[in-house]
């Protein structure tokens, strides 16, 4: 398929072109899945969230406002779905610190397992709200403006959360000798 921008693919999807929507999935399945994976620390739940996110996007495609960036909209749905999933967990499950099951790609084996585990554990020890901004910034590499749009929060609040999250992570990782 020719390389179309998001707005064109959305419009074609609304006209019933399923290949256009398939292209949107190809384009965004990786960031959506990774955002969910880092927020949930569970590969199976991340897969479910990614699938639900795209189904919700398809279902509500007519509600999308093209004045906003499409990826902000889809990431917002993904983050909200992840937070909903976290909210359904029993409290102890969130803190059990178990390894992510099935998530790593082949290159992850080469990485320092200990460093990765320490970072992932530290991420799971901060609140989901703070974790969201860390994931959007450091996994999705969004700007302050895009993060604010994604989370439907003032930019000032996003910055405040990001700074707080980093301070907490700095303390935790410094204690573990990782930074």
């Amino acid at each position: 398929m020719k390389e179309y921008d998001d707005a064109t693919l959305v419009q074609r999807s609304l006209e019933g072109d399923r290949a256009a929507f398939s292209e949107l999935i190809v384009r965004y399945q990786r960031p959506v899945y990774n955002a969910a994976l880092r927020l949930l620390h569970d590969a199976e739940e991340a897969k479910d969230v990614a699938q639900t996110t795209f189904l919700n996007v398809f279902e509500h495609l007519a509600d999308y406002d093209p004045n906003y960036k499409f990826y902000s909209w889809i990431y917002r749905i993904a983050v909200n779905e992840s937070l909903n999933t976290l909210g359904k967990r029993r409290p102890l499950e969130e803190l059990d610190g178990e390894e992510v099951d099935g998530a790593p790609g082949p290159d992850r084996q080469a990485e320092s397992d200990q460093t990765r585990t320490v970072i992932e554990d530290a991420l799971m020890k901060i609140t989901p709200e703070l974790r969201s901004v860390v994931v959007l910034r450091h996994v999705m590499h969004l700007s302050y403006e895009d993060m604010a749009q994604t989370l439907a929060l003032p930019e000032k609040t996003v910055k405040s959360r990001l700074y707080s999250a980093r301070q907490l992570l700095r303390t935790m990782l410094a204690q573990d000798g990782e930074i």
């Binding site: 999807s13 399923r18 990786r30 897969k47 790593p104 790609g105 700007s143 990782e178 930074i179």
Partner: protein
């Protein structure tokens, strides 16, 4: 300057969000205070550590699962183009043929027709000018059988004769069109005859036709057929 202010400058520097004025302020502070320099170095190390969080590959079946779970059209779609209508009619026709074969076999229970006779019920014989452009045999697995790409220069179609232990859904993608045919080929149950699906346009231009076979919403096999190139 109080701590939150210089911290904010350091965070903004990490995120490449400093303006010139703020950058000058931070430079002044860094020159004046070794403690702030040390803190800034530590924040940069944290930034590098967080940016190195690995990206995982999404599950291979994720896209196919999403496509398989999509409803027919998005909510409140404004209009449906001609091509997708045609695909829907093709899928509906396949469903009608499938239902017809079930009724036929139920009515003729105990008088099993020959395979060729069954095939004739579902897929009329080709016209004299129709030729087979490509044929694939699916390997033994959850779904097996044969898929043919046939055409007569102006029309193209798929003929599928599948065997499987459970109903198979097939997602067909070609030239930006996508269609899905549900409930094909359970072995030993009804509706196991060949199914013909008309494709949009001609199949004589070397275009690929991608098939994804799903059982219970999970991808179980893939195949690609290719029409012959025009001379």
């Amino acid at each position: 300057m109080d701590e939150p202010s210089y911290l904010a400058l350091i965070h903004a520097e990490i995120d490449s969000e400093l303006n010139d004025h703020q950058r000058a302020d931070l430079s002044r502070l860094l020159l004046a205070d070794p403690a702030i320099r040390a803190l800034r170095d530590e924040m940069h190390r944290l930034n590098r550590t967080l940016n190195a969080i690995p990206q995982a590959d999404p599950p291979a079946e994720l896209r196919a699962n999403i496509i398989a779970a999509l409803p027919q059209i998005p909510a409140r779609a404004q209009r449906v183009n001609w091509a997708s209508s045609r695909w829907r009619y093709a899928a509906m026709l396949a469903g009608v043929l499938l239902t017809g074969s079930i009724v036929f076999r139920l009515v003729n229970f105990g008088q099993e027709p020959a395979t060729s006779e069954m095939a004739g019920t579902l897929a009329p014989a080709h016209s004299a000018s129709t030729s087979t452009l490509d044929v694939i045999q699916l390997p033994q697995g959850p779904v097996s059988g044969q898929v043919s790409l046939v055409g007569d220069g102006s029309h193209a179609a798929l003929e599928m004769l599948l065997a499987a232990s459970a109903p198979v859904d097939v997602v067909i993608e070609t030239e930006g069109h996508t269609a899905r045919v549900n409930g094909l080929g359970p072995r030993g149950s009804h509706g196991a005859g060949p199914t013909r699906i008309d494709l949009p346009g001609s199949a004589t231009e070397g275009r690929p036709v991608h098939l994804t076979f799903l059982m219970g919403g999970q991808e179980v096999s893939r195949a690609v057929l290719q029409g012959s190139k025009s001379p």
